[in-house]
């Protein structure tokens, strides 16, 4: 189904169901047509703002856990939310951890052909201007500007997380928009980036991370954008009591922060890529979580955010556990 049609179906579906909803969380066009932005709709007359296209990269599920009380049922009304495949996994993880109540949600799932990484697109095209529309057609990302229509191979412009995505189809939903899509890779290719990094020796790996983290400005966007980083204002990165990190900008502090972030997401990270997308200095922070997830998969045969009934391994303890 083309994007415009999906957008229309999306709007119509919420219109039909609005009587049961107190709020709809989706995306709308941002400050220009190359940027989407989250939108919170409380009036049915505003549903026309909703869009769906490959620029809708924000994972909206974090708002449920961090900004809204999504656990109490009032007046039987629900919160409507739009999710891509990866976003739906975050929802599942949040439901598993009791941050949100499934019954409180009306989930509209969108089978996803991938989101565009604006940095990758702009790098190919630093002077790209007056974009009107971005769409995906098969193996091409199609960018329409006021002047011309450009086509890029998707490997060059999709977000890294999308090129390795195994769950482009929402794993939890009430309504699905359009037909399911096929993952772009097979399961055995999911961790190639991690494997590639692992194949370099220890010194090289350390050098790699030192160079990457050196740029970190400790803005904590990676943490705050993460739907599952739920400690927020009580993070070890800023706490002075207990004091784990100083305010210095050395590699030690940054390293520790990222290691803790990674560790707290082991077996919880749903690989939505938000941490990596939002980083203003382009640090591939998701690689750390991918590594953790790879280990969890190998040792415990568990993938985060798939089954709402499953218990995430680090949230449980089995005295009879073997293999660790």
């Amino acid at each position: 189904m083309p994007m415009d049609e999906k957008t229309k179906t999306l709007q119509e579906d919420f219109e039909k169901n609005f009587a049961d909803l107190e709020l709809v969380i989706g995306w709308e066009t941002g400050f220009d047509r190359l940027h989407a932005t989250p939108v919170f709709i409380r009036q049915p007359s505003e549903l026309g703002k909703l869009v769906w296209n490959p620029l809708c990269s924000q994972n909206l599920s974090g708002y449920l856990a961090k900004n809204l009380d999504a656990s109490i049922q009032e007046d039987g009304k629900k919160i409507g939310i739009c999710v891509k495949g990866c976003d739906s996994r975050s929802l599942v993880a949040l439901i598993q951890e009791n941050f949100i109540d499934r019954k409180r949600l009306y989930i509209v799932g969108i089978p996803c052909e991938g989101t565009v990484d604006l940095r990758r697109l702009m790098r190919l095209n630093p002077s790209l201007k007056n974009v009107r529309k971005v769409d995906i057609e098969g193996n091409k990302a199609v960018v329409e500007t006021d002047q011309e229509t450009l086509r890029f191979p998707i490997e060059d412009v999709l977000a890294r997380k999308c090129l390795r995505c195994l769950y482009p189809n929402p794993v939890i939903y009430d309504t699905i928009i359009g037909t399911p899509v096929k993952p772009r890779i097979s399961e055995d290719k999911a961790y190639t980036a991690v494997e590639k990094l692992d194949s370099s020796d220890r010194k090289q790996r350390l050098a790699f991370w030192k160079t990457e983290f050196d740029r970190c400005i400790r803005c904590y966007a990676c943490r705050n954008a993460c739907p599952l980083c739920v400690c927020q204002d009580n993070c070890i990165a800023e706490s002075r009591k207990p004091k784990w990190l100083t305010q210095r900008d050395g590699i030690r502090e940054k390293f520790l922060f990222h290691m803790i972030h990674g560790l707290h997401l082991a077996g919880r990270c749903t690989e939505c890529g938000e941490c990596e997308r939002v980083c203003p200095v382009e640090i591939p922070t998701m690689l750390i979580k991918e590594k953790m997830n790879q280990i969890v998969k190998d040792m415990l045969d568990y993938e985060a955010g798939i089954d709402p009934e499953a218990k995430p391994p680090l949230l449980t303890f089995d005295p009879g556990e073997t293999g660790i």
Partner: protein, 357 residues
């Protein structure tokens, strides 16, 4: 005054190399070929300036480092009295002269905002002052604005030379350089060879063309009172800040955000008192020792960000807006929150406010 000079594209590394012998030269550059984001870094022979797009991080840290040591302290136990110790403080740090090559008019304007607070007020910040005094700006006339830029809407513009020492104008095959201050003039002998008449003429055309551009449609300079009127409209601020995820990006990428924190970082008997960037978007920014926080939610925090830049600051400092319109906070915001919309909506009736943008 010496005339204008010309640096051909392939001569630029040589020029920067020469300059960097006498001073620290900072350039906007990419980390490596695979990265898109641009930062200001010290020039090295394997690093070339990238001038075709605005840098992600402004050159703020050149004068206002993210972390700066204010003083070192060390304690020594008194040999005769175990309850007493002697403290030794050291605070002298020399700074070298600096040239920022390839800044943009908005980057430089950021420091004009800083100056009001750190230099021109009743308290002079010695740390800021010593770096500021030794820093020169070679600024690029800006031809590459995008949809987030709005420098003309806050009283500046893409050809604004205020605060710059040298002026860089891209022409066919390279750059024409012009001195704007005496300190800039002193560097002219290093800035390539004399420009030809044709190059000078082309540069003049470029300058005129850019000076005629208006980047950002609205006028965002007259919102001080509107902000005060809206101050207690909680619904407005709740809706405006609803999608904000309270990160530090907008303040850290902002050339005009100057707030800092001071902490003592010690191990055993020795340590440093440092000052580091702070962000009003962080929860602990105004958290008091008692635990009370007068800005407990992002509503109050976001309101402060707007109020500070568009109301408190111009009221205190001769109408100057504490925003240079660089658009970085819009472009880099994870949720594309548009500060222009928030400021413009201050004057609108409730019915016409588009909260969702």
């Amino acid at each position: 005054m010496r005339g204008k000079t010309f640096i051909a594209h392939d001569e630029l590394p040589e020029v920067l190399e020469r300059l960097s012998k006498a001073m620290d030269v900072w350039i906007p550059t990419a980390i490596n070929d695979e990265k898109y984001e641009i930062q200001f870094l010290p020039y090295q022979s394997d690093r070339l300036p990238v001038l075709d797009r605005q840098s992600t991080m402004p050159p703020k840290k050149v004068i206002f480092p993210q972390v700066e040591t204010l003083l070192h302290f060390s304690r020594k136990k008194d040999e005769n009295n175990p309850f007493k110790s002697h403290i030794k403080l050291e605070d002298e740090e020399e700074v070298s002269p600096v040239l920022v090559f390839g800044a943009r008019p908005c980057d430089v304007r950021g420091f004009l905002v800083f100056d009001e607070v750190y230099l021109n007020g009743p308290y002079k910040d010695p740390y800021y002052a010593k770096r500021r005094k030794k820093t020169l700006f070679a600024t690029l006339v800006c031809e590459t604005s995008d949809n987030a830029c709005f420098c003309s809407a806050v009283g500046s513009g893409p050809a604004d030379q205020t605060g710059s020492d040298l002026w860089i104008i891209p022409v066919d095959g390279g750059y024409v350089i012009e001195a704007l201050t005496e300190r800039g003039e002193n560097l002219m002998p290093e800035m390539g060879k004399d420009a030809t008449e044709a190059q000078v003429a082309e540069a003049r055309d470029v300058q005129e063309k850019v000076a005629g551009l208006r980047v950002g449609e609205a006028d965002l300079t007259q919102n001080s009172d509107a902000f005060e009127d809206r101050f207690s409209d909680n619904e407005y601020w709740r809706d405006m800040a609803f999608k904000c995820i309270s990160c530090g990006i907008c303040t850290y990428v902002c050339p005009t955000c100057y707030c800092f924190n001071i902490t003592d970082e010690a191990k055993d008997l020795d340590g440093e008192r440092i000052r580091s960037w702070d962000s009003c978007m962080f929860n602990h920014f105004t958290r008091e020792a008692s635990g009370h926080n007068p800005r407990p939610s992002k509503l109050e925090r976001y309101r402060n960000r707007i109020g500070h830049k568009f109301s408190y600051f111009p009221k205190k400092y001769k109408g100057m807006i504490a925003c240079c319109g660089c658009g970085r906070c819009i472009r880099r915001c994870p949720v594309a929150l548009d500060i222009r919309n928030v400021v413009l909506s201050l004057k609108k009736n409730k019915e016409n406010v588009d909260v969702c943008k």
